[in-house]
Each structure stands twice: as C-alpha cells, then as structure tokens.
Subunit: 355 residues, 2 copies
C-alpha cells in the first residue's frame, strides 16, 4: 500500500484550492512515467472508439465490454444523452451540477426542478419524488449529489428504477467513486440489466485528472450501442486512452485516497459543527457544504476574507436553487483542512461579537 506521506498534496501554488472537488492528493508520477508527449506518441491517432481501453475498463468493473463506453470527460455524455433520447420532460434533482440542466435545456427539453430543501438537510423525499416523476419520462440524479454531499440509498433508487420502467434514470456516480464500498453501492451492475438506467461517471475527480478528459458510462447493451453510434469518432485523445490502464493499476493511490477522505471528512465535519454562525450538513461525498446562518455576515465578507488568506472555496450562488449563503469545499490534506477550519473559526468567532 502506498504510504500517505508519499502522496503529494494536489495544491501546488500558494493558493489552496478547496473549490474543485478533487481528492487531496495528486495522481502519482510513477503511473504517468510511461505516458510521454513527444513527436512519435502525439502522431498516434487514438482508437476511434477506445476499443482496447473499453475492454480493460469493463474487466475492471466486472461487466461485459458491450455494457460500457469511454468518453471525452463525462461532459461529452451529459450533452450527448439528451440529444439521443430526446426526453420530453426531465425531473432534475437540484441544487446540482449545472451541466445536466444546461445540456437538457440546450435541446429545448422541458426540465422540472425537484428541489432538495436545505431545511430538510437536502434529504431526498421518495414519495414527493414519485409524485414529481409521474408526468416525466426521465430523472437526472447525481449520487452522491454535488454540491449537497447527500446520498440516496441504493435500495431506494433500485425500487424507483424498477417501479418506473418507462422512465429513464440518468445517474451520475462521479463522487460514489470516493466511497470505500463503491462496489456495493454502484448501480453499474443493475445498469447492465435494464434499459431505463444510464450510469455516468467522471474519472477526473477521484484521480485528480480533469486536464485529460476521461469519463465512462454503464448501461444496457442496447443503450450503449445507441450512445456509441451517436458519439464522435476519436473524441477521446490518445493520452487519455493510454492513461486508463494506469489508473486501474494505481490501487494504492485509490485506496489511500478513499481511506483518508472517509476519516478526514468526519473529522473536518465534527470540527465544523463546533463553529458558531454556520449550519453544517453531514457529508457523504468528498466535499462538505455549510450555510452561513449568522445574519450579520454578508457572504462576500467571508469570501473576501478567505481570498486574502489565499483560500479558494466554491460559492453557493453558482448553483441554481442555492443561495450565496452556502459554501462548498472539498477535503484536502490535514494541514490544509486545519488551516481552513482555523480561518473559519476566527472569522465566525469575530463575527459573533461584531456590532
């Protein structure tokens, strides 16, 4: 197993970036050594449909290669799927990652927001959802959800998918990859067996590799074949295709990331709950959301204060259905998390007695 002290923090500049939902560590150099950009390697066209890479991924996931495909980031899939399936009306669980809504609306498809309320701790209400989906033909669910860091239980999702066979569930499991029991929680296995489930995952976040563009999809043979037919040839670059086998080899990095994040997020969460003036939501993914409830604090004050401390977090107002009083940050190294906690503590301590 890779020792934690051998892993290098993801933040390399003076600014500590908690705003991107990466794990705490850089992808290790040793798994990138054989991928070189030179005149010879750059001249190799990628495989048009990432054939070999897809077979490797399928083997890794324990499914058939006809049930999966590799994409130019998960974005390619988010924008392609509404074009192919032409959903008449989609239920979109919000607040969530902006790309789903953007991709649906670009195709003039009707989108019904299903709001996860902060007053209910963003909890998913099964009965309310059943009423919402009656007149829709699709649901977009990010699980765990970004930015709320909430998780819908696997059993609930399975029962919904079984109950509504005529409605397609698009489930983004990008952050499920951070969970230690991913193999038990993922819907990939079910997805190979039914036609109304499409599971999409970005590999950018768990491996901290957003630059190279790599995502994948798991679904029925029928759906995968349909999506493949509509994908652009050569959309995945040759270096991304070369990288995938090495991601699979990086077992120590993956387990260390999962183990560290699992413990550290609870530690950070507990410390955060002790800060007066904020409401903290229990994190299921590798990031935490909190709300500024001290009404004397204008959100910009906090963001300016953190900026001055060279700390970057995600401001809530970039998410539709979320106000600027929400703050999201991802779990970084212990030292970095401690710095953020310290700064937040000082800020809210001071504010407590302001005016």
């Amino acid at each position: 197993m890779v020792q934690r002290n051998k892993l290098i923090g993801i933040n390399s500049s003076k600014i500590i970036d908690f705003s991107v939902n990466y794990g705490p560590f850089r992808f290790p150099r040793k798994f990138l050594k054989d991928i070189k950009i030179n005149g010879e390697t750059i001249a190799n066209y990628p495989k048009p449909n990432s054939e070999e890479t897809t077979s490797l991924l399928a083997k890794y996931l324990g499914i058939e290669k006809e049930n999966t495909l590799i994409s130019n980031g998960s974005s390619e899939l988010f924008f392609l799927i509404p074009k192919i399936f032409k959903f008449k009306k989609t239920v979109l669980l919000e607040p969530t990652f902006w790309e789903y809504g953007e991709a649906l609306r670009r195709n003039n498809l009707k989108v019904d927001s299903f709001i996860l309320e902060s007053k209910d701790n963003f909890k998913f209400d099964r009965d309310k959802f059943i009423r919402a989906i009656q007149n829709a033909d699709c649901a977009y669910i990010c699980n765990p959800n970004n930015p709320t860091s909430t998780l819908i239980e696997r059993d609930i999702l399975i029962s919904l998918i079984s109950q509504f066979k005529d409605k397609i569930f698009v489930v983004d499991e990008t952050y499920l990859l951070f969970l230690k029991n991913y193999n038990k929680l993922t819907l990939n296995d079910l997805s190979t067996k039914v036609n109304n489930l499409i599971v999409i995952s970005s590999l950018s976040k768990i491996f901290s590799i957003g630059g190279i563009r790599l995502g994948f999809c798991v679904s029925s043979r029928k759906n995968i074949s349909l999506i493949k037919k509509n994908m652009n040839p050569y959309s995945v670059n040759v270096f991304a295709q070369k990288l995938l086998p090495n991601l699979i080899k990086a077992k120590g990095y993956l387990s260390e990331t999962k183990n560290f994040v699992a413990k550290e997020k609870l530690r950070v969460y507990e410390n955060l709950t002790k800060i007066n003036g904020i409401k903290t939501f229990e994190p299921k993914a590798n990031f935490i959301i909190f709300k500024i409830i001290n009404q004397r604090v204008a959100p910009d004050e906090l963001f300016n204060y953190l900026n001055k401390a060279l700390i970057k977090v995600r401001e809530g107002n970039i998410f539709p259905a979320l106000s600027d009083r929400f703050v999201r940050f991802s779990i970084k190294t212990r030292r970095e998390n401690d710095l953020l906690l310290k700064k937040l503590k000082i800020f809210f301590q001071k504010k407590r007695y302001d005016k």
Copy 2:
C-alpha cells in the same frame, strides 16, 4: 530555418505508413518539451472554451477572436454542425472523407452525392454543381479534396458562395494548410464576413499530431457564437490547449514541411506517371491517388505485395464512390517515397508480362 536533416521521419516502426495523410516529418521534440504529463499538469482543468488559445489562434490567422473557435479535433465540428444547422439537403462532393456523410446521415439529413468522376480527373464542374445545388441548402467541400488531391480554385468557390447566399458552404481546408500560399488560398478571410461559409481545419495532418485532437473553425461572428453555444464545455483537453502556442512557434518545421512536400510530390508524381499499368492523378495536396488500370492486376494482389514489403497505403474501397482499384498514399521522406516507387515499379513491370 530548421534544416531538413534535423527533422525526423514520421514513421518509427518497421512498417512504413503512407496511409495516414500526415506530412513526412514528426513534430519536433523541442516544441513539446514544456508540455509534460505529470500529477500537477494533468490536474489542471482545460479552459472551458479554450479562451486564451482561441485569441492566440485568431492573432495568428489575422482575424478577430470572435470569428474562430478551437475544437476537439475537426471531427467534433463535422458532427456538431449538422446538428445545429439542420440542413434539409446537402450536396456532398464525393469521393471524400467519410466523416461528412456519416455526420449528415446520422442526423437523418438528406445527402446528394455530387460525384467527381475519375474519367474527368476528378475535376470540379462548376455548371454541373450549380444545377446540383439549386434544391439544396448546403454544400460540403473538402479543398484540396481527400482522397482525390484535387483543388477547386478560390475564385470559383468565392463566386459560388456569393451567388448562393441562402446556402451554407462547409469547406474543409485541412490539406490547404500544406500549401505554400495557404494565406492567399484560404477562405478564412471571406468566412469572417459572410454567414453562409464555415471553414473547418484539422491541425492533425499538417503538424502530425492526430493523438491530441485539435481543430479549428472560422466563420462569421454569428455562426461562431452559435456553434460555441452548442459545443460541449471542456471538450478540448488541457494538453491540446498548451500545444497550440507551440504549433504557432514551429515556423521552421511548418515551412520545411511545405517546401519539401511541394517539391517532393511533383518528383514522386513524375516518377509514378512512368509506371505502366496505373493512371496517376496530378496531386494538389500532400498525397497522391492512382488507379490500377492493368486489368490483369487484382487490387488485393498489389495490397498483399505492399503489405509483405511492410508498406501501408490507403485502399480506395474505404471511400464511398471509389472502387478498390484506387490507391492513395501520402508523401513521406525521399528515401521512403523511393522505396514505394521502386516496389510499385517492380510489381507493375512484372505484371506487364504476366500471362
């Protein structure tokens, strides 16, 4: 100026590949030195719409940044444009690169083949084209055309584009980049001024960099803005964005490639015309097409013979509207071209007296 002897041939393995339409030389190492795939660089997300890179390209092309965009290879554009513009009926000059027709048909758009006949040396007939385009709303033109290596004169294209303002001309100038007078021949300048012209260029071929996926488009502000709105965010990977400035810097490589190809293709063409049993077509691009006219030769015989000699060429039957009696090959180094010429000479010499 970079000396030719400093440039390295594109073929690195035992097999000499004349089948990909690359230039003869690898992209030089010195312009790739600062692009490293490591844990830090791979973590950098690309700019969502390649903002800075687009500005650089625009400056290089001498146009405004609002008139151009960068894509995940030219393929992304070939497949996206029919989705956006929804042409009712497109005139497609054939034989040509398969992606145009595939992209149009995928969207269930009607495609009328406008055949360039080998008996007319694949010459473009302006009057015949005018009759063909009357009932269409779009024309796809690859100029110079792949695989015929023919060029439609700039004046003819300009007059057609001016005459048919209600029809969109999609012109692929990937191989025009190989011509010494590219700046005088390109329609990029006109494209910025009219709404019925979209010029697309792949950078893969001229720089031998098909692995990284990099293409661009030039059109009116209105068209570019519309295409950008429909492109996927983050479709161009961070390494492609880093590479573009270095492509622009590689002036010696570019001019050496152009100068060498300009001379060498004529030398190869002249030698080819001396071989009995084939008909050779004058090349305008960096590749040559010929037809096996010796009726005693079955195309497979030739391809097997070349395969045994570790020579790979492009077989004509992969192009709709072209038979398997056609062979396309690209100009490589002098030594490699001489080997191909020698092999062809021996093969057809022997065949001349067979039976």
